[in-house]
Amino acid sequence: MLYRTAGQFKTSYIADQALFPVRQDAFLLGIILIFGWVIFPMTASEFTVQTLLIPILIYALAAMGLNILTGFAGQLSLGTGAFMGVGAYACYKIITIFPELNPVIAILLSGFFSAGIGVAFGIPSLRIKGFYLAIATLAAQFFLAWLFEKWSWLYNYNASGAIQVPNSEAFGIFVMGPQAASITEYYIVLFVVTLLTVLCINLTRGNLGRTWKATRDMDIAAELIGINLLKSKLTAFAVSSYIVGVAGALYVFMWKGAAEPNVFYIQLSFQVLFIAIIGGLGSIMGNYLGAILIVGLPVVLNVVAGTQVFEMSTGSAILLIVLIAVATFLFGVARNLWGMGAAIGFGAVTLIYGYAQLHGFRIESAMIEHINVMIIGALIIFFLIIEPHGLNQLWRLIREKLIIWPFPH
């Protein structure tokens, strides 16, 4: 119905290998881009831009970097947080040494530093594999996090030990620092993220991407058919760390505004790893879906559970019911009973809670924080059980089913 492919004939191999073999995919992407570039910035409030849109994009970018390494090249890494830190500190040094440089260029340059460090810590991957490598990347994580604290040259010897984002101008307006408007920052983040996403999509479809996938599937076999493992693994580390580093620079300079070394601790690595895995290893779009879930969920839970007073109006109740109906329908199309149950259950709990709140029922905010952590843990397990290959796979199934809908096969 929505996805009818009738009449779209592919008469050459090139057409079959095209970026969008199905026309509706391109159409859908167009709609998403219009939302991202035009509709969201026009309608979203300051709060939404700061707490949802910018962090979702940045986390998605970081997860994409990790996904190149773990999902495409098969090298498990737990050092993402530290590599983000390298990007952020490199960007800080570049900006303070060359204040007149365009900040966007500084951010893009800072990725090269984390790429260099990433390659250095990637060298052991030639001998160490699997979980041993994962723990080896923890060496990078803990060593770099320690270095950020002890090496005062990195934060220009200031007393607080934190890096502060200075106000800096480009194109005649403030683009970073306390005086910059959120909307400017949003557009810069969106620009960088779009640029790198296009780059990633094409890299992973091309020669380099196929080498990575061969290495991931079985590195000895890949070596036997003539793939240079050294080159394949180290380019994966370089590209991945570059993207992660840029994400780190954006994280501090376009979102947080200041950062202490403890921002880049292992918790950040895990958060990014969650996004990559829940989104789906070996996919580009999954990173966005994962980021929406992992970043968006705590915000939604907080708003719903009422650190702000949540008065469920009839309008928002109807909207919620419609959303749940759509989710249930999509899960139903994919024949995923667990998903259907979860969507209905989540909706029911929210509605009951909203109704109870109208009648004066409240939970303490500290308790809400704890329950949030618990819910996120439970949801991670839940999503792994309903679809171990991630949200991207879930979407792929739904899309397949929509193409042949209403027929079962």
Partner: protein, 317 residues
């Protein structure tokens, strides 16, 4: 500079042998605790190929439950028993709800699931017992708290009775575990499962029972570690970081090896203390304990990719 690195530390060691012994003793005590946590990891990894990241939080959760139960007025030893019951229920629930639906998935998915368990337990623990620091019920459990002062080489060596107890109890626990694994039917079943899943299943070993058992043993180890560490540093979620310390121990010793976990734990505990005191603090500004173990393990792995005692990795195409 070279003098500071290669000569001065050793001169210090020889000049103050009592201080060196003190450092070695403290390293030994923490090494034993690392080894205990690593043992929990190894048992679960051998029997199910699951890299159980939740081991660290199980330590915290066990300690919190114990302290929490005692605060509710349950007698000390009864609360130890009840905590064991809680850990058993936890093992059953994890096996039923998390592991069984995920059987046969790639390693990384199971690893992520254990991180999910970690988050869930953190949230649950904080919701039930609150997030603030608590004091371990050391005296109520009859653990001695004084210290013995020895005077070797005319110097001063302070041995906390608590640490001595920890060393003795941990050694007994490890011996009991080894005896269990080697001489009982269940223990041999665990080892058989570690060697070959399919073969073990075909001779009638139940995967589910063994998994529950292994997670329960990991829970017991977690409780002992939790009591020991909680008595030294208080019970809080900061204890979770010691779980990270068990990771380089595993790397060094090899993921499958029980001997490796013990030797690796002791090595890392002692070496990181020595490095911190004689090299880290004077030369690098201190706090090197956060990364030293990892870098050491990384260097060892470059020469032996399967760890010191791990099974040799044989790859076929």
């Amino acid at each position: 500079m070279l003098n500071d690195i290669f000569i001065a530390p050793f001169v210090d060691m020889v000049e103050a042998p009592d201080f060196l012994m003190q450092v070695l003793w403290e390293g030994l005590v923490s090494g034993i605790l690392y080894a205990l946590i690593a043992l929990g990891f190894v048992l679960i990894f051998r029997s199910s190929r699951i890299f159980n990241f939740a081991q660290g939080i199980m330590v915290v959760f066990a300690a919190l439950t114990l302290v929490g139960l005692f605060a509710m007025g349950v007698p000390a030893w009864l609360s130890v028993g009840l905590t064991l019951v809680v850990m058993f229920v936890l093992a059953v629930v994890i096996e039923r709800v998390v592991l069984r639906p995920l059987v046969g998935q790639p390693d990384i998915i199971l690893f992520m699931a254990t991180i999910g368990i970690t988050l869930f337990l953190i949230g649950l623990g904080e919701t039930i017992f609150g997030g603030e620091n608590k004091v371990m019920i050391t005296e109520e459990l009859g653990i001695p708290t004084g210290d013995t002062v020895l005077e070797p080489f005319g110097g001063l060596l302070i041995l906390q009775h608590l640490d001595i107890t920890v060393v003795i109890v941990a050694t007994l626990l490890v011996l009991a575990l080894l005896a269990f694994l080697n001489y009982t039917q269940m223990g041999r079943a665990i080892r058989a499962l570690g060697d070959d899943h399919q073969a073990a299943l075909s001779v009638g070993i139940s995967l589910q029972t063994i998994w529950v058992l292994v997670w329960f043993i990991a829970g017991i180890i977690a409780l002992v570690t939790g009591i020991a560490w909680g008595a030294r540093a208080g019970v809080s979620f900061a204890l979770e970081v010691i779980a990270y310390k068990a990771l380089p121990v595993l790397m060094l010793g090899g993921l499958e090896s029980i001997t490796g976990a013990i030797v690796g734990g002791l090595m890392i505990g002692i070496l990181e203390k020595l490095f911190e005191i004689y090299w880290g603090q004077p030369l690098l500004g201190g706090n090197t304990e956060t990364w030293f173990a990892f870098v050491l393990a990384l260097i060892v792995l470059l020469f032996r990719p399967q760890g010191l005692f791990g099974e040799r990795i044989i790859e076929r195409v």
